[in-house]
Symmetry: C2
Subunit: 239 residues, 2 copies
């Protein structure tokens, strides 16, 4: 007899080839605000080492992103690959089509995100943060509050990622980044309202305040509410 959990453990060992995975990662860096427009990516040799792919593969991925309009490369010392100031607009594919593609994946991602991000908020509040970490959190919070509508998603993502990061768990941060990317496509299909943004910013402030005040329960609670808001929005919009 094979337990029902078998499809979790017998899932594909790799999803896609190194090239595709690398493209995905670079997109993650850009779309989640890890590298901002104008920023330079690490040098090819360094980046290839960190991603554990050959330089050839990395270059192919960069080439793909160049053609898609995300980055541009310059040669010479002090050269490098830079994120474009004007990024391609996410194509507004019909939300329902995307939803159908995701299928059960939507609930899958929402449940996972809930566990990861509420857990992150609680863990972050449980830690004694360094001054640099506190400054980074507040910086991300302020940037997000000041972000233009078209940039909002990116700054929002970076803030959430920053919260995951100050837990000190690299794995948690990585998992959070992954699940956010999965939800990105759907979120892009939903119109962003000023009203929602204002509310979102208020919640962000509460979350960060609770983390800085070392209040795990409040941090978790605030994050929970924040997430349930977008979850309801998503499910409702796609219903």
């Amino acid at each position: 007899m094979v337990a029902p959990a078998d499809d979790a453990v017998f899932r594909p060992v790799r999803t896609g080839n190194p090239f595709e995975e690398t493209v995905e990662r670079l997109l993650q860096a850009i779309k989640l605000g890890v590298v901002m427009p104008g920023d330079r990516l690490p040098a090819e040799r360094d980046l290839a080492t960190r991603l554990n792919v050959s330089r050839v593969t990395l270059r192919e991925a960069i080439h793909a992103l160049t053609e898609a309009g995300y980055v541009e490369s310059r040669r010479g010392r002090y050269g490098g690959t830079f994120v474009n100031e004007r990024l391609p607009k996410p194509r507004r594919t019909a939300a329902k089509r995307i939803a159908r593609e995701l299928g059960d994946g939507l609930d899958d991602a929402l449940i996972l995100r809930d566990a990861l991000e509420t857990g992150a908020a609680e863990a972050a509040a449980n830690r004694a943060l360094s001054e640099a970490e506190e400054a980074h959190l507040e910086r991300c919070l302020a940037d997000t509050a000041a972000a233009k509508l078209t940039d909002y998603r990116r700054f929002d993502s970076r803030l959430h990622l920053a919260i995951a990061e100050v837990t000190g768990s690299a794995s948690l941060t990585a998992a959070t980044a992954d699940v956010r990317m999965r939800l990105n496509e759907l979120l892009d299909a939903i119109p962003l309202l000023e009203r929602n943004i204002a509310h979102s910013n208020d919640q962000h402030a509460v979350i960060v305040a609770a983390i800085l005040a070392d209040d795990p329960e409040a941090a978790r609670q605030a994050m929970q509410e924040h997430l349930s808001g977008t979850a309801v929005l998503l499910r409702g919009f796609l219903a």
Copy 2:
């Protein structure tokens, strides 16, 4: 400028080759109790498809596990690859050596596990479970309570995995399986005491009861306490 979260998003795209990953997965299935001693693994062709590796690679992995004493293969119809009744003992490497190898990885894994498993308990209690799911949970609970000392870890893992599974999130289940494997090595280095097991079983019962009673808060709380117990044990033993 590159944000501090860069090492989460620029982490290796793949850890090890397909062969190694496949071995790791099969070990996961065995050590986490997804396939029990005497059970048959899925047929090579099926399993290769599900794992998304070539049959050649899968067979090499199986061969490795055969030599390590985990499985045995029989040919012919109604043949297959079976998990041995007597599994190899985990080698009791000095705990402190392992701890040093893991390094910050211990905290990393503990924090992630906390988020995933408390989140899973809460999510499971929030769902309306089918009769089959409820039966499976109770079955795993009873099996774990009745498990011999040498089998305890396996049944314990299967129960925790079952809780993750009834959330309905495959990703959450997969992540839980992964992080448990990472902690496995360390747990194997710690002597298992009857007293600890009894306590653990009590907590398991409380957790499952809360899930079946659709009480998310209680489920989370109980899981939190359960996990913090082993976390303290781990950190203390390796201090």
